[in-house]
């Protein structure tokens, strides 16, 4: 029991937490603790599940008593409109949580980001390396929060080199059951594009997202890694593969009209300029190779296009990633007392 490396996953009831927990629990030598303020999702049955909030003031004590080695911090609330509530949860919550991790002696923290933090710009190089300045748009809440977290983490791991921090910048996630902006865009019968623009876009299959997170946990390599599948697909080819009808819009209209932007899911620049991340570091240093190509990911999505998505996936309004916007978190002191008792009982039965 003590030789196990304990991995704590926050946001475990969300779509990425569930997938990662299922993947990690079968690994040898890993003890997986799932944490979320929501009731466990169906996929998490049988796991060590704590129904608590990662922002609980006692979280540091929990991390210390459980001797958590690695934290996968996946609790994140996406939002299209910039929301103060989501900002407090995403940015300030992460900052406090990282400080608690440091104080509790956590060795390794894995965070999930997006290649959208680079931003789509006319002067982007053909491949964006991890060292490229982050010039992402701050108009949408999700990306604003990601940029803030990245800025915080950038300072944090230079000040505290004793704690490894891994940031995975993921490309557009698609797959049969994933619920992301890109899957919403591709699942609709028609997708708005900008007339005369056909930028390349990068994708990653939903299974590979969990695999990349698991690889980050297992490899224990700090740093920032772009994660994307080969090849980058031109937008029109992507829509053709997904069976989505491209509806071109004259581009100045898309910039001026807010209702068109809402329909587009993406910001106009993202469908105009190139934002392709270099995945060489992912392959050479992280040692991660996506199983599915970009084409396979789209084909998987297309095959499942008619089927409804599981509830509690992507919620663009900044609310909790669950079916209803409520916290079901139990106080951590109760949970810790309960677990302490259970542990004592276990040691006495083992001794007796």
């Amino acid at each position: 029991m003590t030789t196990e490396k304990v991995v704590l996953i926050t946001g475990a009831a969300g779509q990425w937490g569930t997938r990662l927990a299922k993947r990690l629990v079968v690994e040898d030598g890993l003890g997986v603790v799932a944490l979320d303020d929501q009731p466990p999702s169906p996929g998490l049955a049988g796991l060590d599940y704590l129904q608590a909030d990662f922002q609980d003031p006692l979280i540091g004590d929990l991390l210390a008593t459980e001797a958590v080695h690695t934290v996968c911090h996946l609790a994140f609330r996406p939002s299209v409109a910039r929301s103060e509530e989501a900002y407090a949860h995403n940015v300030q919550g992460t900052a406090r949580f990282l400080a608690a991790c440091l104080a509790a002696g956590v060795r390794h923290v894995v965070l999930m980001s997006s290649t959208a933090v680079y931003g789509a710009h006319a002067d982007n190089p053909v491949l964006l390396q991890e060292s490229h300045p982050l010039r992402g748009s701050r108009r949408q809440g999700t990306n604003r929060d990601r940029l803030e977290i990245e800025a915080f983490v950038n300072g944090f791991y230079r000040q505290h080199p004793e704690m490894l921090v891994t940031v995975l910048r993921l490309a557009n996630i698609v797959g049969p059951t994933a619920d992301t902006p890109m899957t919403r865009y591709l699942r609709s019968p028609a997708g708005l594009t900008l007339m005369g623009f056909n930028p390349l876009l990068q994708l990653i299959h939903e299974q590979d997202v969990a695999a990349a997170l698991a690889q980050a946990v297992l490899a224990e390599k700090g740093g920032i890694y772009n994660v994307a599948a080969e090849p980058a697909l031109p937008l029109k080819r992507l829509l053709a593969l997904a069976g989505t009808l491209p509806v071109p819009v004259f581009h100045p209209l898309a910039y001026l009209n807010n209702s068109i932007q809402e329909q587009m899911v993406f910001e106009p620049d993202s469908l105009r300029y190139r934002w392709i991340a270099d995945t060489e570091k992912m392959q050479t240093e992280l040692g991660f190779f996506p199983e599915k190509s970009a084409e396979e990911a789209v084909q998987a999505l297309r095959a499942a296009k008619g089927e409804p998505l599981p509830a509690g996936g992507y919620r663009p309004d900044g609310s909790r990633q669950s079916a209803n916007d409520h916290s079901y978190a139990m106080p951590l002191d109760e949970i810790m007392a309960h677990r302490q008792k259970a542990r004592e009982r276990e040691t006495t039965t083992a001794a007796g």
């Binding site: 006319a122 053909v126 005369g196 390349l200 090849p231």
Partner: protein, 470 residues
Amino acid sequence: MSEMNEPEVTVTDVRCAATTRAGTQCKNNAQPGSPYCHMHQTLVEPAGSNGQPEVPEATEPSPPAEDTREELAEELDDLIAELREASPEFTPPPFSPQDIIATLKKSIRHMPPPMQMDILYRMREAVRVDNFDIEAWRGTWFLMNYWNYFQEKAQQSPAGQQAMGALAPYWQKLQGAINEDLLDIDTWKGLWFMVSYSVQYQVDILKRRATGDYYTDEWGLDWEFLDAVRPLLSFFYKYYWRVSTNGMAHIPDAGRAMLVMNHSGQLPFDAAMVLTAVLLEHPSQRLVRHLYGDFVPGLPFLSSAIEKIGGTLAREENGVRLLEQEELVGVFPEGYKGISKLFKDRYRLARFGRGGFVQMALRTQAPIIPAAIVGAEEIYVAIHQSRSLARMAGLPFFSISLRFPWLGLLGVVPLPTRWTIDFGEPIPTDEYGPQAADDPLLVSQMTDQVRNVVQEMIHARLAQRRSPFW
């Protein structure tokens, strides 16, 4: 015609099918079992051939040399003259593009499948190599009519071949011609055929592309798109601007190199023509990967088209990456200052920027090949640059020319000047080492050196030129 009454006609009565160096048909009789005489048998026939008229395999034809084309055309003329003589009662109908397609569609069913495949293959190939030679088409038209006529005659009579009498040798020869010469790329050329069959071909491509079944590389290069625009590019190259290219030998057959050129003409036609020149005339048909300015990605249609034919943004990491992939990179160091040049400033190079192209070349030790494009600077007579209109249209510059915007779209049609592209002696960069890219003195010296070479090449070409138009 002495064999008129003989029941059997042997192949030895046929004249040799080969063409002499003078361009006329060989006067010797052919050897038994071969379409060629004793002289040409060894010269023309490949070793191991049994000499029988053979059905050609669907192999890739290599683009034939110019003199071979002429020889074949003359040979066809001779053959037509003889056919006229041999069957005076038959006159082929006049040439018409519609009829030739109909005739081919009718008779292609009688051909063996490999031959059909070969015809289709060659036609598709013709779309790429694009020959617009109507004369050769007329020849093909006559031959096809005779071919059908003989075939009908052979089928009418119960004795088949025998009834054809004196026509039999020609029938055989014609079969040979259909099998070999007629199926050659040189004879199967012509605009109308190509249009008819290429439409079907393009429709197939479009259908397939509509399902997303096509590929681009990491830069966005799409070879199918390039193939689709290649006839248009070569039309402009061969017939509109009648580009003559010199010094192609300076471009290496493989490996990294950087072309540095003058930029002009308001629209990047000069870049397209340099790409076409190297694609059509270089022995290894290399693709020039042009680097464009950072105002291009914001332009609709143009940006995606340029990306599909291999262009990419002019950034040092992009250029270095392309050169490290052993590509041939094309740069216009004048940038938009060059392309927006006024007519009065033509052939005077604008400033060469900060020498980023030299840094790319030094870092990758790629040779710099200076090139001068003469003719492109006169395709529009730009008299003024309007800053306010450029700002309104969201463009980096807005040129007022003698015809634009007064004549609307008509003002966008470039003038059909005559162009010359000169590729100069490569300037080596490998003697300095990759660290030299960080030496500002060397970089600025080399920038000036390349600029002077290009300017001198332009002046030398201008001195030889009689007129912008011919």
